[in-house]
Symmetry: D2
Subunit: 379 residues, 4 copies
């Protein structure tokens, strides 16, 4: 193995869950060492968190600009190579832009930006910089999601005719039904959270999962969103009819008022020769459906899986791995790309996924606000 | 128990599966005796089938008109009281109309008629005749579907915010991908099968299940259908966005090209206080979801179930009952109504379900053909 | 189809669940007509129950002896052909003996007798009479249990190495923990219920399921029973280690104090080439396990199933059938045997199953009472 | 957070799976830093593996004795505080003994030793040293296993009456049926693998899971092992009847010839008031059974869980965690103990679990070899 990759982190301090998820994912597989970063805009919290996780203070910076400037002053052999962006959503774009322009590789949480326009600017920057950009649609890191993608590529389903993906949660019930709470939470404030709550936060995961696994691109969508209360300004539930071509259709269903649901992301893809089903809460099962043969249940770690699926499993069959391991697979893929060793297009979601995701979010709103009409997804 | 109810049967002869389902359902619970009927338009087949199932020939008739005429000549104490209509779809309406007008009770397979207009005529006839009319949306007969309805009535979910029902099958794959087969099968010929294949055959079941369990009425729908091939004249897949009111929305998803699916009917209803999930292929489980308490799994036969749910279970918990038992529950409910003993509005689907179902089918097509626009469901 | 078979019934009157199960099972498939019987030893109840289920009074008898005598006086073309024995356990033997000796076919609930000795006497009688004898180990009637048996016969598992079957229930908790209740219930009174409660009532089902599906015969067992309270006289929980040969072993686990379990009967059979799993509460799934291929899930009604499995399914895949349908399959098999049309040894459990089952029960007690030692099962 | 704990590792180099599992588990939660160790008895492999995972060479040692000697020469503030023992089984005892005697904390893979006698020696050493000793029965680290233990402690089940645990695998099929392979594999060579294969490797996990969750101690066992072939010297399948007291019984079932099973560890505990079920391959579900209420399904991360269960979950409900996370919880518990912060007896398995486990293995063999007789477990 080459030396460890020096990783910087923006955000994710304090008791941030996403921070823990990324740090653990980076450490699994022995590819990265955390070099430093900016964990908080509050200097005291920033520095004390760094100490808490065992990092020396000398590469903890007060903001991203300082970090970039100082790191560029370091010799290349010591300089951070890649930076993970875990900040609030509206800061993704400026940070990513700065980093890409400065020649750093980037691992970025989703949503990639707050608008499609920003996404396109980022894409142009990346085209110039030729650095690695990984978008952490974590679910694509599960071995059985990768297996699904590979089986479709191999033609197990034949021509795809129908796709149905959902992402159902119920957590917003704790906020939405109380007038005071829904008025004051940042999550339901468009100025703080961007244009969309449900489609932007989770619908886009389902959209991405469809394109990642099927290899198809959604051409147009017709969306119907639900705001539940007249005074609420952000969608908390939404369904999009999607079309790949005239005769290949699908559905993206997402909700944050699906009471009692936790992270119920699931996808069904049906083709001429078979069907595939995967559900995130039991991620180690891939169901292969057929009209005339018994259903098959694929599980990780078996030799019958594809190389990229097996690459994402650390232990033999029967040892359940989970979301930390899925994220670790994305980090592993990014590490390979950084080292120029990538072997498969599915090792991590890319800039292109980010651009299309932002279009999906914007077009969902456009469709809904124009009376639930068809609009085209842009690249 | 009162005397057995004399049941006539129209259709369902030969190796008809629907015939067996209804006969068995009628016999379970000891409420009915089969008095006679018309099992086939071919006299030889009609009479030989009657013999095969052990019926004497004297009340086997050549057609429905003859049957009605002859039965009316019998003393009331011998006359058929109720007639089950299991004929091809386009014959439902004339037979039901004739029977209702002649004072017979009717148990009718779905789709009730071929058009909404016919449905309204039938409804008017029933209003006059005051006889019992049961529509065999079989799934409503499952104990856990009944329990779902009762729990919603009792307020377990609070205000309902979202409904998602599906009916996915894959069987039409065996016909649809072959040009010759899809041109020649009666199922894909609008002259023989009515206006809709997928929405009419199965989508309407999902629609009915929503209204049956939720107690809500769909106000408007926006449907997108799929015909898969340019030369194919009937929908074989379709999704309808549905609205109950401005802020209560739902989805009806149905497909006959969901490869590998058998009869995957499922429903999720989410409300302010909880969620409920039921799946037809494991009909003896009702999942009760909550944001802050453990999921509960209700099963049939336990005292914690409602009266009407328990009424539909014959054996103690742990003895799985199935679709024959569900249909038998509908027959049991109809028997009670015929005897004037009904105790709950959910014992069987009614004329009103049939009328709304026909509107759903017609409006799905209308919405689709007009470019996926919102249309209102009529009563 | 030939004429219907004339069926007599002993027991199962009132609100007997087993009575309803058998009557419905007999009527499904159109093979039988109920000719009469003895539904209760109380004449009033006997006659009023007959009326309730629509039977004329003239072939309702006061006891089995009268029934046999009177029926033998009828011309053969009217006489009952087969009699179902649903009485309390201790009456099975005398009734079955009388009926067999008098030339009637018999369908008998389990346990077949109260002792192994009685079972052997019955077997000898049957050898003489050459009539049909079906023992209603209902679970063998499920299509996927039959499929399991056929797949093993075909060699799907190769040599069998291990068998593990369970039957767990929790119902006796409602009686056993209360001193008064456990002293007074007939179920825990050896004089009324026979020698064993748990092994006799449910353990024997698990034992039978093993032999039915595997085609193997248990050679010896070592059992450990639990009575839970010093004053309780009957086993309410028991595990038997079983041996087929020196290197093929298994376990029969049964309990009536497995709190919260309903009818959790399940079987796992493992062989050189694969494994099979079936669970009664989800009876329409058969799991086919392999060390190197994805698990397969077989479901009823598909062409990939064996003839005898398909013979037990009335509707296409996806229409769940249940325990009534399983019992109906046993009745269907018995009807074929009565008509001389049987095509497979697995269509119903036989006298031999009854004899071995009684030996299993007796030997379980013998093993336990002698300090958990190995004892041999007898034929 | 205090400074990171300096961790040494014995074994687990090369492509060792157990090595990866422990390293990842140590890094999750930011408690440990790997200080050095002995990864292989081959110096080249040892040093190159250290480099591969990014460790400096100066604290890589040629053997455990050298490591102990050199580390003791370091100032206490730099010295390894705890050492993980991941070597082949027969080396566990001498390494653990040396480390304990020298005042190091120890995290040890199971089986703890090769004999009960060694286990007792280790226990005595620990009593003297008063250091922390954690035995990695990984399954106890799952949040829902911890929840199970806490619920039983709280009395949710009332008095326990029956326990049934299994650990079924099929992997040894690839070796056992081939004469040459089974003769030559170290796993089936008692000189290399210790006295037992199946009971020692996996049966003991099931045994431990019972005692960990129930809080009960097995008093006596009666075991029946299977060697499958006359020339095979080690058990590859075994069932033990277990007794807690005269009326509380259980079963430990384990197999390595359960074809198609992966790591099918599962436990059912039944008490006066309820039942609990957990299955390792779907570790995030805990089933709470009741005779008269609906089954409940507990999932990790919800507030309704106990403190120690919640302590083992890093993300909100719906984000599946797996075996790496379970092991990380054991490391977290050990870290707390090392820092003197432990809050619950269930944070990790202890020396006492190791001692009882070794007795279980020895007594299983003793029982079997003496003709399947009852023998008592020793402390």
């Amino acid at each position: 193995m080459a030396n460890k990759i020096r990783l910087g982190i923006l955000g994710g301090g304090g008791n941030s869950l996403i921070g823990e998820l990324h740090r653990v994912a980076a450490l699994i597989n022995d590819n990265y060492e955390i070099a430093g970063g900016v964990f908080s805009s509050n200097w005291e919290e920033n520095i004390s968190f760094a100490e808490e996780i065992g990092l020396p203070a000398d590469r903890i910076y007060k903001d991203v600009d300082t970090m970039v400037a100082e790191e560029l002053n370091l010799p290349e052999s010591e300089r951070m190579e890649v930076v993970s962006i875990l900040t609030p959503n509206f800061l993704h774009f400026p940070a990513a832009k700065k980093l890409i322009d400065s020649g750093f590789h980037v691992i970025c949480e989703k949503p990639m930006t707050t608008t499609f326009e920003e996404a396109k600017i980022l894409e142009a920057a990346l085209t110039k910089s030729k650095t690695v950009f990984a978008l952490t649609h974590t679910y694509t890191g599960y071995p059985m999601v990768r297996q699904m993608r590979e089986m479709i590529k191999e033609g197990v389903l034949g021509k795809i005719h129908k796709v149905d993906a959902q992402y159902y949660q119920g957590w917003i019930n704790t906020l939405i039904h109380d007038l005071e709470k829904r008025k004051t939470t940042w999550r339901l404030d468009p100025e703080k959270s961007g244009m969309s709550c449900c489609m932007g936060d989770i619908g886009v995961h389902a959209f991405n999962l469809i394109e990642f696994t099927s290899g198809l691109q959604v051409k147009a969508i017709l969306a119907d969103l639900n705001y539940l209360y007249p005074d609420n300004k952000m969608d908390i539930d939404g369904t999009a009819l999607v079309r790949f071509d005239e005769f290949t259709k699908g559905i993206v269903r997402s909700s944050q008022i699906a009471t009692g649901e936790e992270n119920n992301i699931a996808i069904n893809i049906y083709g001429e020769k078979g069907g595939l089903r995967w559900e995130q809460e039991n991620p180690n099962y891939l169901y292969v459906l057929s009209d005339d043969r018994p259903m098959q249940v694929y599980k990780p770690g078996h030799d019958y899986n594809s190389d990229i699926s097996l690459d994402g499993t650390k232990l033999p069959p029967g040892h359940p791995e989970g979301i930390f391991d899925a994220m670790a697979n994305i980090y592993k893929g990014a590490a390979r790309a950084i080292r120029g060793e990538s072997f498969n297009s599915g090792e991590f979601p890319t800039m292109s996924d980010g651009v299309r995701g932002m279009s999906f979010i914007e077009k969902s709103l456009e469709s809904h606000l124009n009376g639930n009409v068809w609009v085209e997804i842009e690249n």
